[in-house]
């Protein structure tokens, strides 16, 4: 595969990489570093991709693998993050509630162990248990057991965060 074709694929599926970076890193700088690391590892592994699975499955596997294995800087976590653009109008109440729900869900997922985070991300992106098993390297049954346990954990975390 040449560089142009590769860049086209990454460009189309970059949403997966962004999601993995948000899941596994806390600061914008760390996320940017991880994004770059994932693209680099994808480029190194692309020749091993023989089209046996979907391209997005391959990208998810390499992205999760890199996020888990990559060296991380132990930067301080109390970092102020700035949004790129400030909206001209304040968001409507409904939007606020939706944004709040999204943040709470992401916060709850980030409280899970690294392995559970990988599995729930794949579930939420509609991958089948079989595909998840292939990516992680476990059986479909094992995935099923884990998913039901993780869902309960998230529900509990969301309930607790709502009460607080």
């Amino acid at each position: 595969m040449n560089e142009d074709q590769f860049l086209q694929i990454v460009s189309v599926h970059q949403g997966i990489i962004h999601k993995v970076c948000r899941l596994y890193r806390d600061t914008p700088t760390d996320r940017e570093d991880l994004f770059q690391e994932i693209v680099f590892q994808l480029w190194r592994s692309i020749d091993d991709f023989r089209g046996q699975s979907k391209t997005s499955t391959f990208i998810y596997r390499i992205a999760l693998n890199t996020a888990i294995a990559a060296f991380r800087n132990n930067r301080k976590k109390n970092v102020i993050s700035y949004v790129d653009q400030v909206p001209e109008m304040p968001p409507a109440n409904e939007d606020c509630a939706l944004a709040d729900c999204k943040d709470r869900l992401m916060a709850a997922i980030k409280m899970l162990d690294e392995g559970d985070r990988a599995i729930i991300a794949l579930v939420l992106d509609e991958y089948s248990y079989r595909e998840i098993g292939d990516i992680i390297g476990i059986t479909e049954n094992n995935v099923g057991v884990k998913v039901s346990r993780i869902k309960n954990k998230i529900r509990l975390l969301l309930t607790n965060s709502h009460e607080n």
Binding site: W43, A69, I138, N141
Partner: protein, 186 residues
Amino acid sequence: MRIEEMKSLWTGQPIGVKQKEELAGMLTERSHPILKGIRKQLLLEISAWLIVLCVYYSMFDGEKRPLAINMIFIICILQAIAFNFTGYLAAKNLVHGDNIITSIAVYLEKLKRFKWGSLCSRIIFMVGMLFFFFYGVDMAVFRTLSLVFIGIAFVFQLWLLQRQWSQRIKNLVALKSELMNANGER
């Protein structure tokens, strides 16, 4: 919250968009954030050691020591540089195998080998240095005490090094068993 609600919230997460040109810049080692740092450190170390190798013969009385002792000194420095370089090469490959568990297992083996390699390289380096600097020196009380003090500092440094490697290995072992275990227990 039901799983369908979670899915719709998840897919609606805002994401940044990177242009192809920006992505193209990420394919080279030169722009790689971690490798860049390791490379900079490696270059600094190599330059420093090359300077030491150039001046040690006259500055540290290499000329007054036998050839074998000089060779030990040079080999100790070269092996430390070579080991650091292999570390740089290893840091480039994070993905192995067809699934995450296999990949972590291969990576773990690599880290374990590296841990021992790193400890051995450090021991060879330190013992070689001590051998060079203390060769033929009259071991008076003060010098013996210095040697003991250096030895203790060296052992402490080794302990810190092995603890750092062990922590990283321990985390990955825990993650691997968490993924393999149906109940997700570590």
